[in-house]
Amino acid sequence: MFNAKVKSEVLKGIIDVVSPLVNEVKFNITPKGISLRAVDPAHVAMVDLEIKSDAFDEYKATNMELGIDMDKFASIIRLSTSNDMVNLEYDEDTNRLIIKIGNLVRKMGLIDTTGMPDPKMPNLNLPAKVVLKASELTQGVRASETVSDHLALTVNKDDFELFAEGDTDTVNLKLPKDLLLELDTNSKCKSLFSIDYFSNMIKPVRGDDPITIMIGNDNPIRVEFNIAENKGHVTYLLAPRIESE
C-alpha cells in the first residue's frame, strides 16, 4: 500500500535529482519513507536518494516497490505549480499510480521492477572533505562548461580549487578556507571529472544551500546535500577520468 500527499515542489526536487542520470527507476517504499539507488547506463555515476515520511504532508505505506518512468512522471508533475498539493496513490489491482493534482486525476502505468538491479555503494577511501555554498561551486562549473568537457578538483590544506583547461582557454576558481563552510584533509587530493555529469549533480542545489564534497586521488567523488527542507538526503557518486597515456 502507498498513499501520500505532498507539495509539488518536493516531487520536482526528486525529479531534478534523478532524471538527469536515469530514466527507469525503482523506488523502495517503506513505512518510514521512500528511497532509491540507481546507476546511469554508462555506469559512471550513481544516485542514492532518501526521503523521510515527514517530508510528506500525509504518508501511509507498507513495504513495496514502485517502478517509475521518470520522463513520464516529470511530464505529469510539470502540470502542477510549486505550491500545489499532489496526491499519490498506488492502485494494486491495475498496477498503476494514481496522481491527483487539484481536480485532475492522472493514472500512470508502472514499470515491472523484477530484474531491476540494487546497486551496491562501493567502499571508497576519500580522505578530503569540503563543505561549501552551492552558488560558489555553480559559478566555477558554469565557467568551465564553455572551456572544456572535464575539470580538475583539488583539495589542499588551506583551499579548494577547481581548474578546467581547453585548447586556448582556462578557468581557475580558488576558494580559501575561510570562504568554505568546512575543509578537512591531511594531504593534497586531486581528481578529474566530466563537467557534464558534475554540473547535473550540483544543479538541484539552490543558492547558498550547502554541498558536501568528498574526494581522493584519482578516485570517485562523493557529492551530498539535503532536499525537501532537510527531510530528504541525496548522495551522488561519480567515477573520475584518468588521463594516463
Partner: protein, 424 residues
C-alpha cells in the same frame, strides 16, 4: 584562427598552417564564410560542358528518373521543379544513389550532369496549389518508375553542373514556363502515406523504411510535402529533407538499439570507396557514437590546405539536441550503423573514422557516406578482446597515427579515460 567558441565546436581541431582551408571544411560551400560571393571550391568544378549541345534549347523532353529538386535559397519562397535528362527509357539509376557504389566519380558526374533542373518559385506551404508545375512535381516525386516529362523553359538552361555537400550533383537549370508529364504510376506504399492526412510524417517515414523502400525514394516524397498531418505539410528543400529522413529513421532505430544487450567483442569493419578510407570500430559499451573525418590536402573540403584537417561530431547515450557540426553525413552514418545493430539486436558504442584521400576531388552527396558505411558493415569484421588491440589494428589500415585519432575523438577519450564505478 578562432572558428567559434561554442562548446561542441571547441572540439574542432585547429590546423597548423594557413587559415583558409579549415574555413572551407567548416563551410563546405554553403555559408560563404570566406566572404566571396561564389564558392571558389565549387566553381573549380564548373568546367564541364559535355552536354551543352543537348540542352541548348528552350524545350526538353525525356524520362525523369523520376527526380525533383526543391531549392533552399529564398526560403520560405523556394524554387521547386522536376529534373529531366534529355534521354528516354529507364533512367531510374540516375536518381537512385543506392545503386552507385560500383560507379566511378566520373560516371556519377556524367549521368547526373544530364539532369536539367526546372524551376518554379512557390511558397513552401503551398503544396496543394492547383498550378500544374506544383502538381506534376509532386506526382513525379511519388512515382515508382521513370516518367516521360516535357518542359518548356522561359530561358535556355544556364550554368554548369552544380555540386553540393549533401545533395547529389545535378546539371544546368532554367525557369519553367510549361510542364507536362504522362501517366505516372505511384509507388503504392508512398501513395498510401500520401493519402493518410492524419499520419504523422515521422511515422510515415519509418513505416516506409520498414516496408523496404530506398532512402532516396522516401526522401524525394518527403521533400514535396507528401507526408504528415494535412495542415503541416510543406515543401522541404532537398538538402534538408535528406538529413531529416536520415535523422528521423536513425532516431527510431536508436531507441531500439539502446534496449539491446551489448556485443561481446571489439569489432573493426573497413571499406574503401572513392578514395575514402572507412573504419568502423564497435565497442561492447552502451550506445555512443562519433564520426571523425580527416580531410587530406587537396580533397573536396580542404583544397588549399597544407595539412590534414580533422573534424568530429559525437553523442553519448543521452543523444544530442544540436545539429552536428560536421553536417548531414553524421546522420547518414548513424542510420547505417543502427541498421546493423537493429538487425543483430545488439547494442554497441560506435566510432567511425574516415580518411578522405586526394582522389576524392568533388562532393557527391551524403549518400556516399550512408552507402559506404553500409557496405563496410556488410563486409566481415575483425574481432578483438581488448580496445588496445582493436586500435592497433585500425591504425594499420589508416595513415593517420593512432594518437591523433584519439586526440580528436571524444568517444575514444571517454572509453580510455573515463572510469566506471565498478573500477573501484
Amino acid at each position: 584562427m578562432q572558428i567559434t567558441t561554442s562548446k561542441n565546436q571547441s572540439k574542432l581541431i585547429k590546423t597548423p598552417k594557413k587559415e583558409s582551408f579549415s574555413l572551407c571544411a567548416l563551410c563546405r560551400g554553403t555559408k560563404f564564410l570566406c566572404g566571396k560571393s561564389r564558392c571558389p571550391v565549387i566553381v573549380r568544378y564548373h568546367s564541364r560542358d559535355k552536354i551543352k549541345p543537348l540542352i541548348n534549347t528552350l524545350k526538353i523532353g525525356g524520362a525523369s528518373p523520376p527526380s525533383v529538386f526543391i531549392g533552399r535559397i529564398g526560403y520560405p519562397k523556394v524554387s521547386i521543379g522536376p529534373m529531366i535528362p534529355p534521354i528516354m527509357g529507364d533512367t531510374s539509376i540516375i536518381d537512385t544513389p543506392e545503386l552507385w557504389l560500383d560507379k566511378t566519380l566520373d560516371d556519377i558526374v556524367d549521368f547526373r550532369s544530364m539532369l536539367i533542373r526546372g524551376k518554379h518559385t512557390v511558397d513552401i506551404y503551398d503544396v496543394e496549389n492547383s498550378n500544374k508545375t506544383v502538381q506534376f512535381t509532386r506526382e513525379l516525386a511519388l512515382s515508382k518508375n521513370s516518367v516521360f516529362t516535357e518542359a518548356i523553359f522561359s530561358k535556355k538552361p544556364q550554368g554548369n553542373i552544380a555540386f553540393y555537400d549533401e545533395i547529389q550533383p545535378h546539371g544546368p537549370s532554367a525557369p519553367i514556363k510549361k510542364f507536362d508529364i504522362t501517366n505516372p504510376k505511384y509507388e503504392q506504399h508512398i501513395e498510401k502515406a500520401y493519402y493518410d492526412t492524419d499520419l504523422k510524417s515521422r511515422d510515415a517515414v519509418f513505416n516506409l523504411y520498414k516496408d523496404g523502400l530506398n532512402i532516396s525514394k522516401i526522401q524525394r516524397a518527403f521533400s514535396v510535402g507528401a507526408f504528415g498531418v494535412k495542415k503541416f505539410r510543406k515543401f522541404v528543400p532537398t538538402r534538408w529533407s535528406i538529413t531529416a529522413v536520415d535523422s528521423t529513421i536513425s532516431e527510431t532505430l536508436m531507441k531500439n538499439t539502446k534496449t539491446y544487450p551489448l556485443i561481446n567483442e571489439y569489432r573493426v569493419y573497413q571499406h574503401n570507396q572513392f578514395d575514402n578510407r572507412w573504419v568502423i570500430l564497435m565497442m561492447p559499451t552502451e550506445w555512443m557514437y562519433e564520426l571523425i573525418e580527416a580531410w587530406y590536402p587537396n580533397t573536396t573540403w580542404n583544397p588549399y590546405g597544407g595539412g590534414i584537417s580533422i573534424f568530429n561530431s559525437y553523442e553519448f547515450y543521452k543523444g544530442r539536441n544540436t545539429y552536428a557540426e560536421i553536417g548531414g553525413c553524421y546522420y547518414s552514418a548513424r542510420l547505417a550503423v543502427n541498421e546493423l545493430l537493429n538487425k543483430e539486436r545488439r547494442q554497441a558504442g560506435v566510432v567511425i573514422l574516415r580518411e578522405a584521400h586526394p582522389g576524392y576531388i568533388m562532393p557527391i552527396g551524403v549518400w556516399n557516406v550512408r552507402e559506404s558505411v553500409r557496405e563496410a558493415l556488410r563486409n566481415p569484421y575483425q574481432k578483438f578482446d581488448a580496445i588496445d588491440k582493436a586500435m592497433i589494428y585500425f591504425s594499420s589500415i589508416m595513415d593517420i597515427p593512432l594518437q591523433r585519432w584519439i586526440k580528436n575523438s571524444a568517444v575514444l577519450k571517454n572509453k580510455l579515460f573515463q572510469k566506471r564505478l565498478e573500477d573501484f
